[in-house]
C-alpha cells in the first residue's frame, strides 16, 4: 500500500476512537463507577493519539499502527461494547449479551500487540529472527485462551444478566485458558527480556530511546502491580494506574519521535532522586516517631511535629547530596562537565587561573577541543577572540553558534561542533561559567581599548618624529643654505668695494660674523630636533653626544642598525640621561651602553652621582618615559641614594 493512500486512515481511526469513547461514556454513564469509564477513555485515546502522531511523521511505522490499533480496539471492543451491554441490560435493549461477550473476548487480543511493541521498539525491527517465535507464541496463547475465557462459566460475573449465556460445562475451557494464558504471559515476559537484551547492546540514540521506555515501563510495573491489589482501597489507586497507563504510550511516542530525547536523563535522575528521598525520609520519619514516642511519651501532636521537623530538615540536607550522587550515576557526562567548570571557577576565585582560561574549561567540559568563545564587544561588530582579534571567515561546516546572554544582551557566543548527546549540556555549562565568561569579556574589552590607546600614541609619536625630521631638513637645506648665500653675497660686495672702503668692509665683516653665528645656531637647533649623525647609526651619534659632554663618558654601542624611530628614541634616552647625570646627579663618570638583546634594544645610562632620581619627580624623565612607552618600550630607573643612577630603556626592535 502506498503511503499516500494510507494517509487519511490514521486520522479516521483516531476520530473513530474518540467518537466510540464519547458514545461509550454516554451509554455507560451512571451504570458503572466513573473511574472505570474515564480510565478506559484515557487509555484508548492515549494509545490512538500517540499512534496517530507517530504515523503522521512516519507513515509506515509499525509501532504507530500497533498503538493506534490497540486504541481503536480498546474503544470499540471494550468500551463501546461494554457501554452498550450495560445500557441494554438497564433499558431492556436487544443484543446486550452479545455486546458483553465481545467485551469478554476483547482484552486478550491486545496481548500480541504489546509483545510486538516491546520487541519492535524502538527500531521497528525485532532483536533477531528467532524472536518471531515469541510473537507466534503469544498469538497461539491468545487463540487458545480466548475460547477458554469466553466459554468459561466462571466469567459469568461480568454479565449484567448473571450467568454466562455462552458457558460450556466441563474442564475444557479451564484447561484451554490456563494453557493459553500461560503461553501469552510467558511471551510477554520474554518480550521484556528481549528489550533488556536490546538495551545492553544499544548505544547513542537507541539507548536514549530505550531509557524512556524503561522509565515508563518501570513506573508502570512499580505502580500498576500494587494497584491491582489495592484497586478498591482508595480512588487514588485507579487514578494513578490511569496516569501510568497513559504515560506508557506517550513515552513510547516521545522516544520514537525523538522529541527532547536527551531529557530522559534529567527525568530519570529526578525520578530516582525523589524516589530515594521519599524512602529515606519515610525511614527518618518512622524512626523519629518511634524514638520520640519512646522518649517523650505518647503525646501524639509533639511526636508528629518533631518527626515532621526532622524529616523537613533532613530533606534540605540530603537533597543536594542525593541529587549529586544520582547525577553522577545517571548523567555522568553532565556531572563531569559541570565539575570541570566549577573547578575552574574555584581556581579563578583563588587567583590560580586567568579568566581567559574559561575557553579551555569549556573545551574540556564539552569535549570539543575546537570549541571557540567569541566575545561580542559592540552589538553589530564582528565578535572577537580572547586576543581581541575579530573572527573572520565563515564557520566550518557542522559548527553551531550558541549565544551567551545576560538579559537580552548577547555577551558572547560559543562556536562548537555539537553532538546529539552534548547539545542539551551546553546551556547548563555556559550558565555555570557565565561569570568567568563575563570577566574574560571585560578583560578583552579593556585590553583592546588599551591597545587602541597605545597605537594612537605610537602614531602620534611617529608623526612627531617625521615632523622633526622635516624641520631639520628644512633648516639645513633652507634657512642655513640661504644664510650662507647671503654671506657669500656680502663677501662679494666686500670684494667689489676694493681696497679703499675700510669702514664699509668692517661693517660687512660684522654682518658676515652675525650670519655665521646664525648658521651655527640653526645647526644646533636642527641637531636638537634630530641629530644628523643618527644617519650614520647610534654609535657615531652617541660618541658625538659624549664628545660634547663636560663629564667623561664611556660609550659602547652596537653597530647594528634599527628603525629610524627606534634609533631616535634610543638616542634621546641617552641624551636625556646624560643631561640628567650632568645637571642633577653631579656625576664624575658616565657609562653609556646600547646593545641588542634578542628583539629588544637596551639603552642604559649609568652614572656615579648622588642617585635618588625617580620617573615621577623630574618632568624630563616623565617625558622620556612617555617617549619610550610610545614605541612599546619600558623605562626603568635604578637610583638608590648615594649609589648613582642607572637609566635603562628597553625598546622593542623587530629584527
Amino acid at each position: 500500500m502506498a503511503p499516500s493512500r494510507l494517509r487519511p486512515l490514521p486520522g479516521l481511526l483516531l476520530t473513530l476512537t474518540v467518537l466510540a469513547e464519547l458514545a461509550a461514556v454516554v451509554l455507560s454513564w451512571r451504570l458503572e463507577p466513573a473511574y472505570d469509564t474515564l480510565l478506559n477513555v484515557v487509555f484508548s485515546c492515549a494509545f490512538a493519539g500517540t499512534g496517530f502522531l507517530i504515523l503522521s511523521r512516519h507513515p509506515r511505522h509499525v509501532i504507530g499502527w500497533l498503538l493506534l490499533a490497540v486504541g481503536v480496539e480498546n474503544a470499540l471492543a471494550l468500551d463501546l461494547a461494554q457501554g452498550y451491554g450495560l445500557r441494554a441490560a438497564a433499558e431492556g435493549w436487544p443484543g446486550g449479551p452479545v455486546a458483553e461477550a465481545i467485551v469478554m473476548a476483547g482484552w486478550l487480543p491486545q496481548a500480541p500487540a504489546f509483545v510486538l511493541i516491546v520487541l519492535l521498539f524502538p527500531t521497528d525491527r525485532l532483536p533477531g529472527r528467532r524472536w518471531w517465535l515469541v510473537v507466534w507464541m503469544s498469538v497461539l496463547g491468545v487463540a487458545l485462551a480466548e475460547p477458554g475465557w469466553v466459554l468459561n462459566p466462571l466469567s459469568g460475573g461480568e454479565y449484567a444478566a448473571g450467568p454466562n449465556p455462552y458457558a460450556v460445562e466441563g474442564p475444557l475451557p479451564d484447561v484451554l485458558f490456563v494453557i493459553g494464558f500461560t503461553l501469552t504471559a510467558t511471551a510477554l515476559l520474554t518480550a521484556f527480556v528481549g528489550a533488556l537484551v536490546r538495551f545492553r547492546r544499544s548505544i547513542g540514540v537507541e539507548r536514549q530511546q530505550l531509557k524512556w521506555f524503561a522509565l515508563s515501563t518501570g513506573v508502570l510495573v512499580v505502580i500498576a502491580a500494587p494497584a491491582l491489589v489495592f484497586w478498591e482501597a482508595t480512588p487514588v489507586v485507579p487514578l494513578l494506574a490511569a496516569v501510568c497507563l497513559t504515560v506508557w504510550p506517550v513515552t513510547i511516542g516521545i522516544a520514537v519521535l525523538r522529541y527532547r530525547l536527551y531529557d530522559v536523563d534529567l527525568v530519570l535522575s529526578r525520578t530516582f532522586t525523589y524516589l530515594m528521598l521519599t524512602v529515606v525520609l519515610a525511614v527518618v520519619y518512622a524512626a523519629a516517631v518511634v524514638v520520640l514516642g519512646a522518649v517523650v511519651g505518647r503525646d501524639e501532636a509533639w511526636v508528629t511535629a518533631g518527626a515532621t521537623l526532622l524529616a523537613a530538615a533532613s530533606f534540605k540536607l540530603l537533597h543536594r547530596r542525593v541529587q549529586d550522587r544520582v547525577d553522577r550515576r545517571f548523567r555522568p557526562e553532565r556531572h563531569r562537565a559541570l565539575s570541570v567548570v566549577a573547578a575552574f571557577t574555584e581556581r579563578l576565585r583563588h587567583d590560580q587561573a586567568e579568566p581567559e582560561g574559561v575557553v579551555d574549561a569549556l573545551r574540556d567540559a564539552m569535549g570539543d577541543p575546537e570549541l571557540e568563545l567569541r566575545f561580542v564587544l559592540q552589538p553589530g561588530e564582528p565578535p572577537v577572540d580572547t586576543h581581541g582579534r575579530p573572527a573572520t571567515g565563515p564557520d566550518a561546516p557542522g559548527r553551531e553558534r550558541y549565544p551567551v546572554l545576560r538579559g537580552w544582551t548577547v555577551l558572547a557566543e560559543v562556536v562548537w561542533s555539537p553532538s546529539e548527546e552534548r547539545r542539551a549540556l551546553l546551556g547548563s555549562v555556559v550558565a555555570a561559567a557565565d561569570l568567568p565568561i563575563e570577566m574574560a569579556r571585560l578583560r578583552v574589552e579593556l585590553r583592546r581599548r588599551l591597545d587602541e590607546v597605545a597605537e594612537s600614541r605610537s602614531r602620534l609619536a611617529a608623526v612627531a618624529d617625521q615632523e622633526r625630521r622635516r624641520i631639520e631638513r628644512d633648516l639645513h637645506d633652507g634657512a642655513q643654505q640661504r644664510l650662507v648665500s647671503i654671506g657669500l653675497a656680502l663677501r662679494h660686495a666686500q670684494h667689489q668695494l676694493g681696497a679703499d672702503a675700510d669702514e664699509a668692509k668692517a661693517t660687512l665683516d660684522e654682518a658676515v660674523v652675525e650670519i655665521s653665528a646664525a648658521i651655527e645656531d640653526l645647526r644646533e637647533l636642527a641637531h636638537g630636533l634630530r641629530p644628523a649623525l643618527l644617519q650614520a647609526g647610534l654609535g657615531p651619534a652617541l660618541r658625538d653626544l659624549a664628545s660634547r659632554s663636560p663629564v667623561p663618558v664611556e660609550v659602547s654601542a652596537t653597530t647594528d642598525r634599527f628603525a629610524p624611530d627606534v634609533e631616535a628614541a634610543a638616542y634621546f634616552v641617552a641624551s636625556e640621561g646624560l643631561t640628567n647625570a650632568v645637571k642633577h646627579a653631579r656625576a664624575d663618570q658616565v657609562v653609556l651602553q646600547v646593545a641588542r638583546q634578542n628583539s629588544t634594544l637596551v639603552v642604559s645610562v649609568a652614572d656615579d652621582g648622588v642617585g635618588g632620581a625617580a620617573v615621577e619627580r623630574g618632568s624630563g624623565l616623565t617625558g622620556l618615559s612617555d617617549r619610550v612607552a610610545a614605541r612599546g618600550g619600558r623605562l626603568r630607573i635604578e637610583s638608590a641614594r648615594g649609589h648613582g643612577t642607572t637609566l635603562i630603556a628597553e625598546l622593542p626592535c623587530a629584527s
Binding site: 639645513h476 662679494h492 648658521i519 664628545s547
Partner: protein, 216 residues
C-alpha cells in the same frame, strides 16, 4: 686654478662661483646636480671640484658618491666636499687620500682661509673641517690625548686638518722649529711612527685618531 662647482642651490652656486672668480680663479663649469659631474670633469680636467653632499634627486649622498668616482678616475684632481653638517659616514673614508677635503659649508664665509684650503686640496693636500677634527681629538677619559698639552692638542688639530708645519707656524704665530718640536712630541705621546711631511702624516694621524675613537 680651474674649478668645477656642483651645488643644487642657485644662490649658493652663484655665490661660490663669484667667490672663486673674485679670488682670481677660473670657474669652468657650474652644475645643479651630481648626475653629469663625472662627465664634465672628464672633459674639463679641472684642478678642483667643489661638491655639495646632498643634491637632487634624493638629497642624501649624491655628492659623496660623485666625489669617490672622481677620485677613483682622476686621483690627481682635488675634490672638496661641502656639507651642511657633519656626516662622517661619507667623508671619513675619503679623508686621507691626497687631494681631498671635507668642510662645513659656512667655512666659505672665511674667504681667505677657504681659498687657501681649496688651493691646498687642488695641490694634492688634505683638508678636514675643524669640527670633525675637534671631535676626533676631544680627550676621552683615559685616552692618550689627555696627556697632550693645550698647545700640542692645537698643533694636532691643525695637523689633522691637513696643514703643513709651515702653515701651522703661520696660523699659531710660532717659529717653524717650535712647531716641529710640538709635532714630534705629539707623535711620540700618541705613539705614531714619525713620518715624512704631508698627506701621509695626516693619514697616520687620522687613522690613529679614528682607531682611538672606534669611529665607524
Amino acid at each position: 686654478m680651474r674649478v668645477v662647482i656642483a651645488e643644487d642651490q642657485v644662490l649658493l652656486r652663484e655665490g661660490l662661483a663669484r667667490l672663486f672668480a673674485d679670488g682670481g680663479h677660473q670657474v669652468v663649469s657650474t652644475l645643479g646636480d651630481a648626475a653629469t659631474v663625472a662627465e664634465v670633469v672628464d672633459q674639463e680636467k679641472p684642478d678642483l671640484v667643489v661638491l655639495d653632499i646632498r643634491m637632487p634627486p634624493t638629497y642624501t649622498d649624491e655628492g659623496a658618491r660623485a666625489a669617490r668616482e672622481i677620485k677613483d678616475r682622476h686621483p690627481e684632481i682635488g675634490v672638496l666636499l661641502l656639507s651642511q653638517h657633519i656626516e662622517t659616514t661619507h667623508a671619513v673614508d675619503l679623508v686621507g687620500r691626497p687631494g681631498f677635503g671635507y668642510l662645513l659649508k659656512d667655512r666659505v664665509l672665511e674667504v681667505e682661509e677657504f681659498l687657501q684650503t681649496a688651493g691646498r686640496v687642488a695641490a694634492g693636500g688634505s683638508a678636514l673641517d675643524p669640527t670633525v677634527v675637534g671631535k676626533l681629538v676631544a680627550p676621552a677619559a683615559g685616552s692618550p690625548l689627555a696627556r697632550l698639552s693645550d698647545r700640542e692638542r692645537r698643533v694636532l688639530e691643525l695637523m689633522a686638518e691637513g696643514l703643513t708645519n709651515t702653515a701651522i707656524s703661520h696660523r699659531l704665530v710660532l717659529s717653524e722649529r717650535t712647531v716641529e718640536a710640538h709635532v714630534r712630541h705629539v707623535l711620540l705621546k700618541l705613539d705614531i711612527p714619525e713620518n715624512d711631511e704631508g698627506n701621509r702624516r695626516v693619514l697616520a694621524v687620522l687613522t690613529h685618531l679614528r682607531e682611538m675613537h672606534d669611529w665607524s
